[in-house]
Amino acid sequence: MTALSVTLSRVAGRPTLWIAGTVLGAIVLVSLCAPLIVSADPLRLNPMQRMLPPSFEHPFGTDMLGRDVFARTLYGGRLSLMIGISVATMVTVIGLFFGLLAGFVRWTDIIIMRIVDGLQAIPAILLAIAIAAIAGGGVFSVIFAITVAEVPLVVRLVRSVVLTLRGQLFIEAARAVGTPTHRIMTRHIIPNTVGALVVQATYICGISILFEAYLSFLGAGIPPEIPSWGNIMAEGRNIVMLAPWTILCPGIFVALVVLSFNELGDGLQDFLDPRTARHL
């Protein structure tokens, strides 16, 4: 069997991976193509049509200001997905940098790791709310806040990969023949962190989307002018018993996307490291 057919048969053996990929792809697609799918303006207020239950005209109903929840959910997906991807990218880049630094440069290790310990000792939700509020609230504050809360894990991960690899024979051999450190790093270490990083980035995408929802729900997230899944639900909070669809519909989108990211992460993990594959 060729490598490709092994891959395909392994993916085929996990139907949930297919489902996750399809669901995620579909949600990304409808979010990107939102203007083509819904004619309703997600920001247009319509006081005459407040809190209408789901109907043919408004598939997800309308909110307390008469805005179409379906349109808001599709447009909100753009922002929420963007936040997920931005955080995952930033966490990966920053985590890789400091992880490599800690793993390679002895004296930075103790400083970086103490900071990581300290950051991890602060409950993530409190740290993120504090940073988001202090950074002024808004899309970039939220991205920054979630990044700070998530980055220690990746620094730790990269560092542990570096430390494991450093003791291995092929690195010692490379060193023995006089390969400079930066080359060892780019040729041998970084390629070996890619697998673990991609898996983590996938999980972090999902976690960040959920995180945005919590931050907005608690009042420290995205301001209400631009719809995100989090702030649509936050605005639905006061009318939850009158118009539950304002929270439920975007909530289902969040759950589906996070579920898909988690499943993709699990799938990638099994694929990249078949030893840990769950054979059940």
């Binding site: 103490r114 900071i115 310990d117 300290g118 950051l119 000792a121 602060i122 409950p123 993530a124 939700i125 409190l126 740290l127 709310i129 504090a130 940073i131 509020a133 202090i134 950074a135 002024g136 999902g206 959920l210 929802a213 919590y214 729900f217 608690l218 009042g219 420290a220 639900m233 909070r237 939850v240 018993m241 539950p244 929270i247 439920l248 909530g251 969040v254 759950a255 589906l256 996070v258 579920l259 988690n262 499943e263 059940l280």
Partner: protein, 313 residues
Amino acid sequence: MLAIIAKRLLLIIPVMGVVSFVVFGLLYLSPTDPAAVIAGDYATQEAIEEIRTRLGLDQPLLFQYVHWLGNVLTGDLGTSIYENRPVTTVIAERFEPTISLAISIVIFATLFSVPLGLFSAWFAGRLVDRLTMIFAAIGTATPLFIFAYALVAVLAVKLGLLPAYGFVSIREGVGPFLYHIILPTLSAGLAYSAIIARVTRASSIEALNQDYMRTARAKGLGVRKMIFGHALPNASIPVVTVIGTRFATLLGGVVVAETVFAIPGIGRLSVDAILHSDFPVVQGVILVMSLVYVMTNLVVDILYTILDPRVRQ
């Protein structure tokens, strides 16, 4: 044993040092001027300057940090700007609901998820197991206020079985306490119990595949003895770890549940303090919660050495 505890206690010092630095730094990264917040909306520039001098906010940063840390170490967390009372008092008042809820969630999650995970491991690959895994996946992916509102809508509003909000101290009777805490526990505990179920399942599958289990089966041990005598003690170790490492998940759930159910706890206090720019309270809460987190992990590590003799070496 004592040496391990002493060593772990010493390790807390640098961690809390960094936490204190971050917590203190947060205030100075903020564009909001604490003196202006205290002075109020209609204060004159002189009044703001006077407050700044009185609080020592015009001093060099390092000096302020040392001064603040000195106060913190003697148990003085400053005065709340919003409530004009000592931060320690404000936090102490709010502590009970949060701790009650957190403990209640841990108890619920353990009682519910450990048997579920074990059961699911025993029937690995079968329908029960699949359903458990689906529950675990959904439980960790759904924003937990969705569950909270769904439970409120059905159990509180529709059926009127439980109150939709509020908190009653356990000192006012176990009945009313439980009556009020069931819904917050169920809704906030879902994500947490999903994680515990998953971890219990994974560690139980591993425990069930060990040689000693085959030996147990070979010598004709009953199913109950196999599970409770061998599998459960061995599978319980990672579960204890989860309680420590996932403290943040637990606290996140508590914060959200306090908002949904209008529980006057630390979570709501911290969110309000952050939104009101009540810096001393923000610093105090983060410091106290981090200390609780670190101490929880210490206790978990100690439990770990008790449960698993191999770690002691």
